[in-house]
Symmetry: D3
Subunit: 250 residues, 6 copies
């Protein structure tokens, strides 16, 4: 039994509240246990300079934490005057992951801006951000497609979770902060609804892991991700899920 | 009748949800109509260098908006690498206002960090921040006083609101964004429970105002502030309000 | 009697030297007692991006202090790599105040850049900056109007002063640094020649003030401001004052 | 056959020149085909603040490219005034990877600074950096251990390489820039001499990959890594390799 | 005859007003023709970290221009968030030059901060800064020596001027802006009262100069510098000049 | 005899390896004793904004050191977020020097970007950078002239060296770091193949120098520079040297 009473391969309770904010084209508040992230999607009618003239869209993400999302107060990155390496790494991951399931040609020369703001952190903020951002983006693209005249561009579901190996050598799913800070191995997996990998990041924290352990971790992740896709479908509702199914390769 | 159906001197609906986040010593989500701000209070066991050795505490505030708190997406200040003038002005205002109703000697050499993060903006974000931050701070100081061994240092209530003169020359209370962006005169007032001014900032927006108009604005603000104090008292509950009453000059 | 021998409601000696620098379109050295500020006005033939295409002008201000304008040396903001909150607040105030008495449509798509550089500081640098900047701007706009083909756009005089409540509860006018640093209440008032308020910023410094005290402060300020307008008229001379009178609403 | 004539699972020619610079405690020039990186290791007699008092050492890495390491000139990060997200991600990866095969307690409260400066880039700069940095660090730690009085702290070999899936669905080892920029999937693998994973980062570039493809990629990487360890051993020589063997878990 | 009516080897009119500001230990307003610089000297009772424990003092300089010191408005370096290369070069030059005529051991572990703020620029701002800063520093060191208990540490006079070769191949002394911006060769010379060089910086501006031309330039500079020393002596007065003479090597 | 066994007026061994990197249009590795600098030249098909429309080219330089080019590790300027004064000064010097021997009209509206990256430092990095950058630039301009349709624009050779006066009052040529850090006087001289000065920077390091010493320094430099031109000619080869000779004024 784990520190919060869960089974080894049990996710924390998931809630995805859509329409959380009034201004963004798409917004959700996602809770994964005590981790809470506001994810919004905004559409800009142009692409960054390096993409211009290619007839394709772009997706970019920003990630931030409130100073007291964490146990002790963090200095704001705006006060420091620069963004940390950790934040940049997460931002790049979120953007890259979402681009894998969007047909950028359908989107046309538009940028989807994803903002993930962690209001409460208890481990797994980057994976919760990806899972929530997918929903916010799908809502925004559904809402704007007809108005702006582009085809619904999402080609599959996308969610993320973490798996890890604890000090007792147990493989566990969806680590909370207490587990994550002591894990020997930490792996984040981003997967499509079809079970294909988009991103796989496994790290031995001053430790290493064997080929066999890797297989166990991948199996554990797969279970959790299938459950996350179901939460996304419920949150998105009939209209959007049927559009995704229509574009999905079987 | 105003754009959202209110009377001239009617506040928007106010909600103050305490204990909003799990980590901070004090936290609230305050809603003033559609304006929503997460206010947290954190205590640090030291003061900034310029205060050291004086045996007194300090209160400092930071303010930020989520990129899509607003109608169109704002660039994050962490991405810009610097904080705008508007943000700095608001941060200084919040800190200064709260210091007026705290006995810094009772607090001892500690810093109260106030964080106001606007998650949805519809006008009046700085005044909502002050009103909410007061509650978060009172909760934090009540919780920590005994543990850290200092006397409850808050000497009165503190709330803020805006008043303004619209294009039709009507004086109104608690402007929303649509009203604020077109007002001829905009005034923010921070007041104590005893009806004393802490801060008064009146600005003619490419306009001016007479002595008589100033008196009308002050009267309108007073009405709204009295109502705000009642909301704060409900949110704070018996234990804390009685401690404030005990220190209040009559 | 005050620390420098003045009466309660007496301004310090005022000197406004016009044509102080050879390059700017308008420049003054203003002295308010020992406070000395070089104010210049420059005209740029375009407006910032957010104003383009509206057919209106803009006025923006920058404020700085020499490192040894003060008793102890301040670190230059250029060395720090960023501008402090105090500087930004003052810059925004100066620009906002000047815009209130300029008909921006008459100005056309031009920007007036105001630079206020404090070479010696003894309290009241922001109000001296506004009073001096008004004169520099009027000279620049008078000089360039015919050449550039726009109508003289200034619609009234504009000056600023400070009032405050000292520890002995006396209300005083035009605080010097020694008074300002110990005042209970500090208020800056920007007013037009017609006696209308443009900006009113009153702050209790870890203190508060009552409605009655506010009335006393406003009365004191009014006296000082009337005198400042006379100094401005002398400095500007016949030609410019008559142009201002011509546009002034009576 | 690949664009440069290699077999699918063939590394590019590897050269590791030790003692490349006169000042650093350890330095190498590593060439992996046309990719050339100067790796240096420096020892500082203290650890960063967050590590103080724990009796353990730390390893941190910086990575940079000369502006014309690449086909078109890149703007220097020192001119931009900030480090890009890509650079931060690589720096964090190098440091994390090296920490996995160093017994930080043996090192004592010292910091190893790794600098990887790419002088010519043709794909695989981050993996070449890790492979080269390992050698530079081992030389530095061997040289300084006796002098500074710490036990040789390296517990195994460490090398990195890339594998990927090209547009023709072929799995290849050690991608050059031409291959990397068009690959569907790109995976970097950091492994110890014992064949354990330290870091696994697989990314679908606007694409995805299946469980079976992952297994193929891992197999390909393993072949290349075994060859890289042999190059490291030759470069390090008898004395250092025997020290590593002595600490290696079998 | 030159553009402003001067002879080839004639300086512009020089004025050095001492005691220009009330706060600094030493301050002057130096005018060299239309170039006007406020130079101040401040003493700090410690040295920078790299000098600590050596029992010697340090001299450091900062240089800045008001935005409208020049014909067209310059962006403030504080607004840009960084100091330009030109400013840094001048700051380093001023500090280095002054250190050559100060016995840093006599000064003890103190820092002299020199601030040169150009309020009006018409060529030669860096040489005017050095000439004026010398006077401000001598006044400050004279005033503070007895109080702080150190021996007067200045060992000789120090002044600077420019010479150049114009398009007509004439060698001229003390170039104004119009001359400087078109000169083929521009040379700044810093010299001691004994006629020794401290700094010599000659630059062909997209041009070159011969050995013979160099000799002509040096001769021209010498003439101007002797005159500048006389202005410095008048400004400093009997007490300080006799202290300098006492320490001067003959 | 000097610390490294050289005669007073003897250069250190010089090697200039051309074609050092595969991507830049021109690149060299220059070694002056233990000082090693990678110099590259890149051509951009536009000029900076302040040069546009003049039909002339521009040359700009950047200079940097690897962190462990020096005895103790330097903090990277990209990590600091700003470029030091020393770096800016050297960058400006390199660009200015090269512009003196290039006919910018022949170049047309193009920018030559020079990058000098010091990989090992032992004194004289700025002069080695200029000497090496000249060769890299000549190769790049020769290679691109025909392709881009501009006339070979280099009008003479250009090299730089240092001379100085040591503590024993000896004048020496080409100071290494040990000599440079203790020299009384340090002078950098940039000269054309025709023996004309381009730049002359002599500095007394808390010291001064006489007119006679200056003459000795100039003589010493001339000897070294003539030798450096021969090294440049060998490195450039027949084709390029004959193009330079063709444009050289005799």
């Amino acid at each position: 039994m784990r520190v919060d009473g869960r089974e080894r391969l049990q996710l924390r309770p998931i809630h995805i509240e859509t329409g959380y904010l009034m201004h963004p084209e798409g917004s959700v508040l996602i809770s994964v246990g005590n981790t809470k992230v506001i994810c919004t999607a905004s559409i800009e009618e142009r692409v960054p300079p390096f993409m211009r003239g290619e007839g394709k869209g772009w997706i970019t993400a920003e990630y931030s934490m409130l100073p007291r999302a964490t146990e002790t107060r963090n200095i704001r990155e705006s006060s420091k005057g620069k963004v940390t390496g950790r934040t940049m790494e997460i931002q790049r991951l979120i953007g890259r992951a979402l681009r894998a399931i969007v047909d950028l040609s359908s989107l046309g020369e538009r940028t989807v801006w994803i903002d993930c703001d962690v209001i409460q952190a208890d481990g797994g903020t980057r994976t919760a951000s990806i899972t929530g951002a997918f929903v916010a983006m799908a809502i925004a693209l559904n809402r704007l497609g007809e108005k702006k005249g582009f085809k619904f561009p999402i080609t599959d579901y996308l969610a993320a979770t973490s798996v890890g190996i604890l000090k007792n050598n147990e493989t566990v799913l969806d680590l909370n902060y207490a587990e994550d800070s002591k894990a020997l191995v930490d792996m984040n997996i981003v997967m499509t609804g079809n079970g294909e990998f988009v991103e796989l990041q496994g790290t031995g924290e001053e430790s290493t892991f064997s080929y066999q352990q890797l297989q166990d971790l991948l199996g554990a992740a797969q279970e959790g991700l299938m459950e996350l896709f179901e939460h996304q479908k419920s949150a998105l509702g009939e209209e959007i899920t049927s559009k995704i199914e229509a574009r999905r390769k079987k």
